[in-house]
Amino acid sequence: MQKDLFSLEGKTVFITGGSSGIGEASAHECANAGARVIISGRNRERLDDVLASLKGEGHSALVADITCDADIERIIKELPALDGFAHCAGMTMNALLKFSNWQDIEAVLDTNLLCTIKLSQALIKQRKINKGGSMVYISSVLASVAFPGLSAYCASKAGMQGFVRVLAVEMAARQVRANTISPGSVQTPMTQAASEGRSEESIKADLAKYPLGYGVPQDIACAVRYFLADASRWVTGTDFVIDGGMLHYR
């Protein structure tokens, strides 16, 4: 019988931001595909809720704030050898540049970019990613589209793509793949919080840019599964846009 290349049977995968949104949906998708899933997030209660709802056995949760060096050090020690890593943790902040305070800009760049690099470096230095493994990062279409009020966020996601392209090349000797996924607007607690305060008109205008409407976390989770599965064996250093047609719609 031919092997199911989209199966994650026998694989151990680590998912950051696993307590909500795209991370939570990815945890479910990977567990449904047969993986042993380890999720991390800051809130123990939310992580436990997700953990309890995952299909299959052997899953676990690590309470950790990836912006905290001590937490990164601890989770690296606690993690087993991994076949997959999905980095879904992130944050956004909506303010025009001239009205943004520096602490907010730093927080976005730190969470989305610097901590991404720090955590990845720790994983690869400790050889936590098995040969033939895969690392997938949630970027954004805003890495290549200008959206007023999101300068730090756009910069952080563009930076992430540059970082992952190099990571892909550097990790190729171990047959480890690294890719980004760039979602358009997906309805998650993070994007809902970010749209608070925006006028109904502006929200309607934004929705009109999406021929297929806004996405849901499951739309992205399916791609996470693909990148962690053997089906993407020859795919590395690339960015997969999933945006309901937004990027090319005029």
Partner: protein, 74 residues
């Protein structure tokens, strides 16, 4: 020599699974490439505190030569 081999295997992904001895002609291994060279240079800088140029490494016939090169710079 043992430490040098350990350092190479721990830091140069391309050499992780290669059996290395003092006599290994490492720069002519099929696994050796530009990334392995960069990793080796970075490992030497970090572990031994010396900078060695790529041409000097390329001129090594084996790991004995590499160790001698490192020691000559320390």
């Amino acid at each position: 020599m043992e430490t040098l081999i350990e350092n190479l295997k721990a830091n140069v992904d391309a050499l992780e699974d290669v059996e290395l001895t003092a006599q290994t002609d490492f720069v002519h291994l099929p696994q050796w490439d530009s990334l392995a060279l960069l990793s080796t240079m970075a490992m030497i800088a970090s572990e031994y505190g010396v900078n060695i140029e790529s041409q000097a490494i390329a001129g090594c016939k084996n790991l004995v030569d590499l160790e001698t090169l490192i020691n000559s710079k320390r």
